[in-house]
């Protein structure tokens, strides 16, 4: 933030952010899991999550957010990339072409009959990469101001 004489009053923004933040993040999770058979997926989910973090950045300042989320976003992106590659490497073990995916119905105690797909692991990687990269870029530009 630029130092101006005026004291900014962002009480409304901060209060609303505290509530909306969680709705946005939950919505992003919803989109992430919807991604297999319906619109959504890792990329969009990741973008919305980083949108939520940016909302935090706008409502509070960089220092506060860093205290709340002490994360090195470059490493987050690298972690996501690693998950994505490793999900592909699984195909070496099963003797099928690289990045082959499969899905099936699994019975999980509380949730009941659940549809699981290996593509979700790859998508999880994409999710982390998108959050990591977007936040790295925004921080690089935002921090030096």
């Amino acid at each position: 933030m630029k130092k101006t004489g005026l004291k900014t009053n962002d009480l409304i923004l901060q209060t609303i952010t505290k509530i909306v933040l969680f709705i946005v993040i939950i919505f992003s999770f919803h989109l992430f899991f919807a991604g297999h058979n319906a619109p959504g997926g890792g990329f969009i989910g990741g973008l919305i999550t980083s949108g939520a973090i940016v909302l935090l950045l706008i409502a509070f300042d960089v220092k506060t957010v860093k205290a709340i989320l002490p994360i090195n976003y470059v490493k987050v992106a690298a972690f996501g990339l690693l998950i994505a590659i490793l999900s592909g490497i699984g195909s070496f073990l099963f003797g099928v072409p690289f990045l082959s995916h499969t899905h099936g119905h699994v019975h999980i105690p509380v949730l009941g009959d659940t549809h699981l797909a290996t593509a979700v692991i790859f998508d999880l990687g994409v999710y982390f990469v998108v959050v990591g990269v977007t936040m790295t870029i925004i921080q690089t530009i935002g921090e030096t101001e």
């Binding site: 490493k75 690298a78 072409p97």
Partner: protein, 494 residues
């Protein structure tokens, strides 16, 4: 049998790059990990070369999506030979970087950048899908943007802006050409495209699209008149990075032109390939003019990239057996020798602190090994027998004569002489004469920089003297280029 092994030259550098991001503060881990993965990669590439040599072209349908619909990776001899060469050059450049890249720069993911670059380059060589080619191009370009600006000096920032702008425009053009080709044929698999374009016969629209591809790849490969961005951009980064760029990036463009114009756009050879032949010779001429007129050693070598690109493309444009064989020979030779020359320029720079020929001379007294290494590299560059450039150029010129392009083939021959002059100018002015060395680094420090250069020089000598040993591999690469049916059969498995 499952052909998953083709993916290894792409994902090993990628995993390495990712792991290096985690260990960015530990310099030792960075060095060892990148070196080890580079050596493993060379091993796998050698195995693949051998495997393709005995079993023919292999292809992998990624994600088990069948061939014309999904993405395929194809390892034919040409592609896999280039992957091997690229890996070797990356290894040499890594060895060089260990000595000159300090902790402050390696901390900011320098080695990751190099590994991502290798990922993109290997991917671009191995893919059999046009849009996937675009994706790997972008991987390669993103890491090249990163590497070219790495260090944040003022000239680097300034040149990177122009470099990115040129490449963003050419990427947009790439997407547009993909869109047009998809509209006309309805497929993006290269083997399938080859069949469908052949069905369409020679039509104006295909010729127009093929020229669009020539422009797109020509911008990356720096052919006339699209080379304007290269001298400035390659001048800015340090020697190890320029060696990578000069040896790999432009060659990926040339490889793509070769692939596309020997596999897909074969309907109107009289028009497209003659056009390429003229552009190739103009590229050679402009490269030679640039190389002679500059007195900066880095610029001289940069302009020699142009000449190399022109010679390879001329071989491709002849579409004869010897011309294509020569272009394969010359491509690999050119990658090795350009990497070597840029490393030597880097050594000279770290001794003298300048690349301007007016500011130093008489290096050979204190650094005789360096002088003679440079001398041999210069001879090999010009194509003096029995060194590595000779056989390729001979075959290319022979192909030109077979095709009846006497004037153009003579221009290629003549260019060798001028190339020799341009590098001998460096030798005579920089290494001979009275001793004038601005900033003497300790000799022991410089000596360790010799290792990667000597490694590449030995490779280049082996390539030239052991032609007998390599020729069956090159022959196999050339056969696929000459008869696309081999490629199509391997991919579509009809």
């Amino acid at each position: 049998m499952n052909n998953n092994i083709i993916i290894l030259p792409i994902i090993i550098p990628m995993i390495t790059a990712v792991l290096l991001i985690f260990f960015n503060k530990q310099e030792k881990v960075q060095k060892y990990l990148s070196a080890v993965s580079s050596v493993i990669n060379i091993g796998i590439s050698v195995f693949l070369v051998h495997y393709v040599h005995t079993n023919g072209i292999i292809s992998l349908e990624v994600g088990d999506w069948k061939a014309p619909f999904g993405i395929v990776l194809v390892a034919d001899m040409y592609a896999i030979l280039l992957v091997l060469t690229a890996n070797i050059i990356v290894f040499a450049c890594l060895l060089f970087s260990y000595k000159i890249v300090d902790y402050n720069r390696s901390k900011f993911f320098y080695y990751s950048g190099v590994m991502f670059l290798l990922t993109g380059v290997s991917g671009a060589f191995l893919t059999g899908d046009l849009f996937n080619l675009f994706v790997f191009y972008e991987v390669m370009l993103m890491s090249s943007y990163f590497l070219i600006v790495h260090g944040n000096s003022k000239p680097q920032l300034r040149e990177t802006i122009k470099y990115i702008l040129v490449n963003v425009i050419s990427s947009a053009l790439f997407v547009i050409s993909v869109a047009f080709l998809y509209a006309v044929t309805g497929t993006l698999n290269m083997a399938d495209l080859s069949l469908r374009v052949a069905e369409l016969g020679s039509s104006g629209i295909i010729a127009a699209i093929s020229i669009m591809y020539l422009i797109v790849f020509g911008l990356k490969g720096a052919i006339f008149p699209l080379f304007f961005w290269m001298p400035g951009s390659y001048q800015a980064p340090p020697a190890a990075v320029t060696a990578l760029f000069g040896a790999l990036l432009t060659k990926v463009g040339v490889y793509s032109i070769t692939r596309v114009f020997t596999l897909i756009f074969l309907q109107d050879i009289a028009f497209t390939h003659t056009f390429i032949a003229w552009l190739a010779v103009l590229t050679i001429i402009f490269g030679v003019i640039g190389a002679i007129s500059f007195s900066d050693i880095k610029q001289i070598v940069i302009y020699n990239i142009l000449t190399g690109v022109g010679v390879i493309l001329f071989g491709v444009s002849t579409m004869t057996e010897s011309g294509l064989e020569g272009s394969v020979y010359y491509m690999i030779h050119d990658m090795i020798i350009k990497g070597l020359l840029f490393l030597l320029v880097g050594i000279v720079f770290s001794i003298t602190g300048t690349t301007n020929l007016d500011k130093f001379s008489g290096l050979i007294k204190k650094y005789p090994t360096l002088g003679w290494m440079f001398f041999i590299a210069a001879l090999a560059l010009a194509g003096i027998p029995p060194l590595s450039g000779f056989i390729g150029k001979l075959k290319i010129v022979q192909g030109g004569f077979e095709q009846g392009e006497f004037v153009l083939a003579f221009a290629v021959l003549l260019s060798s002489l001028l190339v020799l002059y341009s590098v001998m100018k460096i030798f005579i002015n920089g290494f001979w004469g009275e001793e004038k060395i601005p900033q003497v680094l300790e000799t022991s420090q410089v000596k360790s920089l010799y290792v990667p250069a000597a490694f590449l020089l030995a490779l280049s000598l082996f390539y030239g003297l052991g032609t007998e040993f390599i020729s069956s591999y090159i022959k196999q690469a050339e056969q696929v280029l000459l008869s696309p049916d081999l490629y199509i059969e391997a991919v579509l498995k009809e």
